[in-house]
């Protein structure tokens, strides 16, 4: 499933809507980085929406491309990708938020974190139909 940068910006706006402040535009450098994140994830997980969701969520969380709401956007993007793919939407998203926010770099590679997130999604049943 191929998400566009425009789709991701739509998800970001929804994720920060309740913060009560205008959504800042992001720069061309960040747009290019978002395109790269989406392309790399699509290349790595062409037929695996759970792997795709996990990879994109981790990359969004780690790269802080938005002025606010990067973790919010990461969690929302994972949920949207799983839902659009017709998979079961997990219930306990707090756990994913903790998993992403507790990552501090040393000892854990982004790839390892992505695998942890994918494992969590699968444990929650996101690899089955809704």
């Amino acid at each position: 499933m191929r998400l566009s940068v425009d789709d991701l910006l739509l998800i970001h706006r929804a994720a920060v809507k309740d913060l009560g402040q205008p959504v800042d535009e992001i720069g061309s450098r960040e747009i290019v980085r978002l395109e790269r994140i989406l392309e790399d994830a699509d290349f790595s997980y062409p037929d695996d929406p759970v792997g795709l969701a996990a990879d994109i969520a981790v990359q969004l969380a780690l790269h802080s491309l938005f002025p606010v709401g990067n973790y919010r956007t990461a969690v929302m993007a994972a949920a949207v990708i799983v839902d659009v793919a017709g998979c079961k939407l997990p219930a306990a998203w707090d756990e994913l938020a903790d998993l992403l926010m507790q990552y501090h770099g040393p000892g854990t590679s982004p790839g390892s974190l992505s695998n942890q997130v994918a494992d969590w999604l699968r444990q929650q049943g996101a690899d089955s139909g809704s």
Partner: protein, 96 residues
């Protein structure tokens, strides 16, 4: 309130250079709805069924007079469901 309009001519040209799912959607698009500033093509629930669109298919949405963007079928609905499902997590995250 949605207003029925004719799909833009640009749809055909764009669809010729896109994925099979998008070509299918473009060729079969018979109706469109203007909602605010957007021209929404075959995004109605009934059309999703009528056109046999499935998750993974795409529709074209005209966001400006000259710009069409490709959207996964049901993206807006998925965003609403995701917002509801992740509300507690988003509150826990705060502004981060």
């Amino acid at each position: 309130m949605a207003e029925m309009v004719t799909p833009p001519p640009a749809l055909g040209g764009l669809a010729e250079n896109t994925s099979p799912a998008a070509v299918l959607t473009g060729r079969r698009a018979r109706r469109a709805w203007r909602v605010g500033n957007s021209l929404v093509i075959s995004l109605d629930f009934r059309d999703v069924r009528r056109l046999r669109l499935e998750p993974g298919d795409f529709v074209w949405v005209q966001v400006t007079a000259v710009q069409l963007v490709r959207r996964p079928v049901g993206l807006e609905m998925s965003i609403e469901r995701a917002l509801a499902a992740t509300a507690s997590a988003l509150a826990r995250i705060g502004r981060d």
